[in-house]
Point group: D2
Chain length 345, copies 4
């Protein structure tokens, strides 16, 4: 079988190295090009000694023509970069998966407001498919341009989806109290993510409004077919990998088997694991894997449902989901290259 030729734009960040980790072990992928503006010509393994003996490539220039000869390109760049080059790749027949936010929001005004820049190719937004397989698997299969979901939005949507699709919660009561490991902030030198500042600390941030809020709301409104109201509170955890979303909603009906509802919703999903009733998933149980692990509670039998959802923000919340999308786009086994077992302890 021919292998898929894959390229990565922006290979020095954490989603870039995570793509390398996954793609080098993918049975059907041939990684041919990885770019970095700052490290052109340098061996990838100089930046990441963990890849010594695993990746032999040198970083290419982001303008490399090699990318145009790929079957698929992953854009692992900051927000606002992929939209500069999307037309070119599509014109060259290259499928594009953007791990940043450029094509996630359908309403371009909302996007421009939250991301503080002018969109470079608004005409492509409609064509882009939101790469959330648990909702849009069929559309992804036929897509040329996929907007890979954000890390928080993946966990929060997976946790709320069964409730909203079933119409059993007050959609104005939604609260997502979410906690993320530090790698979600990317590979940057910043005081706010330096070890001494946050190594033995915990706090909320962007409580007044985080860019993932409109993305989550959009997804939940698709599921609901009508507007929803959501409070989204992100927090920074003193650990490297992992997101834990604690979700709250008010039930509108009392006669419910929530456990069964969740199990049925995700029965055929290879990467969503509904735990037994009464469980508390921990982030470590998904470290390095593409699994989102969920449990559902109804404390004291009251009218509030509490959903706990964990994922590895760099895998199911980013690069793993991107590969899952690639698998769908190229008609491969959906789990190909994504069967790693969590690193526990």
């Amino acid at each position: 079988m021919n292998k898929i030729k894959a390229g990565i734009v922006g290979g020095t960040g954490y989603t870039g190295i995570e793509l390398l980790r996954i793609l080098t072990q993918h049975p059907r992928v041939n990684l041919v090009c990885i770019t970095s503006r700052s490290e052109v010509g340098q061996p990838v393994s100089n930046t990441y000694p963990s890849l010594r003996g695993v990746v032999d490539l040198n970083f290419s220039d982001p303008g490399s023509e090699e990318l145009k000869r790929c079957d698929v390109v992953f854009s692992a760049t900051p927000n606002g970069v992929a939209m500069q080059h999307a037309r070119e790749f599509l014109a060259a027949g290259v499928k594009l998966i953007d791990l940043a936010a450029d094509f996630r929001i359908k309403n371009v005004e909302i996007w421009e407001q939250w991301y503080g820049m002018k969109h470079a190719c608004p005409e492509l937004i409609e064509q882009a498919v939101y790469g959330f397989p648990e909702m849009h698997r069929d559309k992804i299969r036929g897509a040329s341009l996929v907007a890979n979901p954000g890390c928080y939005p993946t966990a929060v949507q997976l946790g709320f989806l069964p409730l909203i699709e079933s119409g059993v919660v007050d959609v104005t009561s939604l609260i997502a109290d979410a906690k993320s490991g530090v790698s979600g902030a990317g590979r940057t030198a910043a005081l706010g993510t330096s070890f001494s500042e946050i190594g033995e600390s915990f706090k909320a941030y962007n409580v007044s409004g985080h860019r993932h809020l409109p993305e989550i709301r959009q997804g939940l409104e698709w599921a609901n077919g009508a507007p929803v109201e959501l409070v989204f509170t992100p927090h920074l955890l003193p650990l490297v990998r992992g997101i834990h979303a604690t979700l709250y909603a008010t039930l509108t009906t009392k006669e419910l088997d929530l456990q069964n509802m969740f199990e049925r919703r995700y029965a055929d999903e290879p990467f969503v694991d509904v735990m037994p009733a009464g469980s508390h998933p921990d982030t470590a149980s998904v470290k390095g894997t593409n699994t989102c692990r969920i449990s559902v509670h109804r404390p004291q039998g009251g009218d509030k449902v509490v959903v706990l959802a964990v994922e590895d923000n760099l895998v199911k919340g980013a690069s793993g989901q991107a590969v899952q999308n690639m698998n769908l786009m190229f008609d491969l086994e959906e789990t190909a290259g994504l069967t790693q077992v969590a690193l526990v302890p």
Copy 2:
């Protein structure tokens, strides 16, 4: 000025050593006795090398008569121990501050149900004062028996109090998403708090019901003068000290200056710091101090209020608050011995 003679029952746990840290630096306290069943006769500094040169005492037997000659005894034992000895201490004229839960809940049936044991001296429950200075300062001043609040209940109540006292929230909408450092679980050998299990992980626990729920509800109902409904979700943080409570409620009125409401409520409180509008307190900023730091948000100007409250679970959430209570009981400066500056970074 005469010094207050103080004793500690159960000195080997974390609230015990924290009492030692605070009391040895208290200008008006003479620590005369500290007990430990397992370490009788051993120097305290053998168990805690950090106290070498600071504490010269040896551990006494818990039955030591020396305790009866104290002015005040702190009981830093597991739940169910203080109630065995409370009558004796009070009869001997010794004031008793219980850092465990024995006297926190006024309704003995509820207490027995949540704590799974028969109460040994129900007749003392009424007499006990809930040692929460921000609500009960005057009663504490005259108390002989103080029930020191739990760690979660301190942060959660301080965060909700201004809202409930002002009557501006729907009291059936309360949600407390709380995160605690591991020291809250005490000084015990347990797989669930071992470094390898939780050092790079995060999870919720006891979502179906935690013992601090009835205590929080009782306190909020006192403030409300009527029942309230609360969902309380505790989580375990991979750090040693610190609690962060993220609190949610639905506002019943829109015209509100929440910032001003919180600032006024705590203007005279020495240990509650309302941060400027838009702030996000972090747990590190209160490490080692008796301060609870709070900020209040109203995301997107909607109908939900979000309160962030941080404390050091071993200080304001336990031993520091116990000393604050002692200061009130003995008519000392309320801040005596509690002026440490947070250890940052």
Copy 3:
């Protein structure tokens, strides 16, 4: 191709779960039995939610006959257990790989002195092969009973080996200052490895003598063909996985290309990576992999050589090396099942 039938005795510890993680992804292994005295009949995935959907087995009784029908059994039990059952397994034609210390030391008196027990089958010690492929690859190929090396001894021996084999250091000058992550202490409830005790701390332990000292000395003496003297100082790191050995020796000759010596020694070793001159390997770069990464320094061109060696204590320091030994014993590709890429960040 027929798969190898493998069993694990003692599957609930960290080396046990790590064997599960590796063997379930091994292309030539069929895991048929895993035992646990305390969890008989329980699904493995109840103890380890990370294995939900990966391992379908239930724990068997340690006396299970199924083990005798295996081609190979891994003993992942505490010291002193494997020696009770070794004869039985060998008699049944089952190859045995002991991850504990029972067969590591050839001198039974030294073993009994350091491990504080009588050896149960001293006659098997001679037959056992020390499973250190970089020294004993050929013997391992023909072995029925393999003593898998300890975690510290693996890193320390790999770091010293080129120097000792080349005869360029004073063998009475050896110092191994070694630092280990907490998972090396195993999956036990112990105050000394609880998060609150060690989460923000660092210390040495067993400086007067650690059980791995005689094992390291034995290995280095084999390489040297004569006695060596070694100071070995273990320390406990506040991280889960990783050993860093910092090794010191006095050079007896000045005209040396140490970098070249190390590169040549390990040129054909699939799991030893000699880094470029001037490098500093970090433990994260080998997390989850079977690689030992080494660099060699000669500060200020003096007469001391400093070797830095890192490994994942649960992989190359335990379960990964055990699988490497199995691969040799069954004439498989030595790297089969051991090609995971490190989880970075």
Copy 4:
């Protein structure tokens, strides 16, 4: 009693905030001025919320005349800044304590070589006193300009001193394997100290040569009265505060009571604690304190001595020792303001 007027140059770094923490609790100090080039006019408590309600000052310009009216100025700036202003301060009769390296090395050529810059006032180097009270207490008492020792040099010298002064070790055999918490790298945005890079990792750095090497060597040579040879290997620990130095030397005499030697050497030192024989000090036991805790071992009764020394790098390794020096310079109680108890756990 009049209070000492103190100023701090460079108040936003970690040694600056640590000076604030200590000096605001010092009974004899009045902190009148703190400067920061980047934060002029801003309240100190904006940068450090932990100081809300504790420090009321705003940051001044580094050129502030207020500094000249101080009795003492602490320079908590990067290397190379204090030497620009030292003459001015001394001319104005202000005593100067430099927490950086400008005046630590007596040989200006060696200093310029290691620090890569031209010294701005070499004539002051001779006059500067190395602020290491355990060796130079009397000189410090009369000093106007004190060079506060580096963090590593403090622990390493305290550990080696008794051995070298007693002449019982081969001074060409010295090895210092030292491990430091991340706060030692200062308060800067750098990839190399970001949480995701080092939060679950450990490595050595600068093995070929670290700037603290010549400082340590100079101090040990003063004690020895002759040259010494030292290998110094620094490592980065995944914790915020704490240094652990593991020191090795070859004994030249066998009949020795090392425990007694260390206890006698430090019997009158208020900030050096020699632990009982067989102990292993941990860094947590000195967190937030000015104590260096030491134990001494002789493994297997051999010819190597192993010394373990721990300190808080920001206190005894920096700001605490600076205040200890100030106390000596102003004839105060040496322990004034330095009686904090370690924050454990």
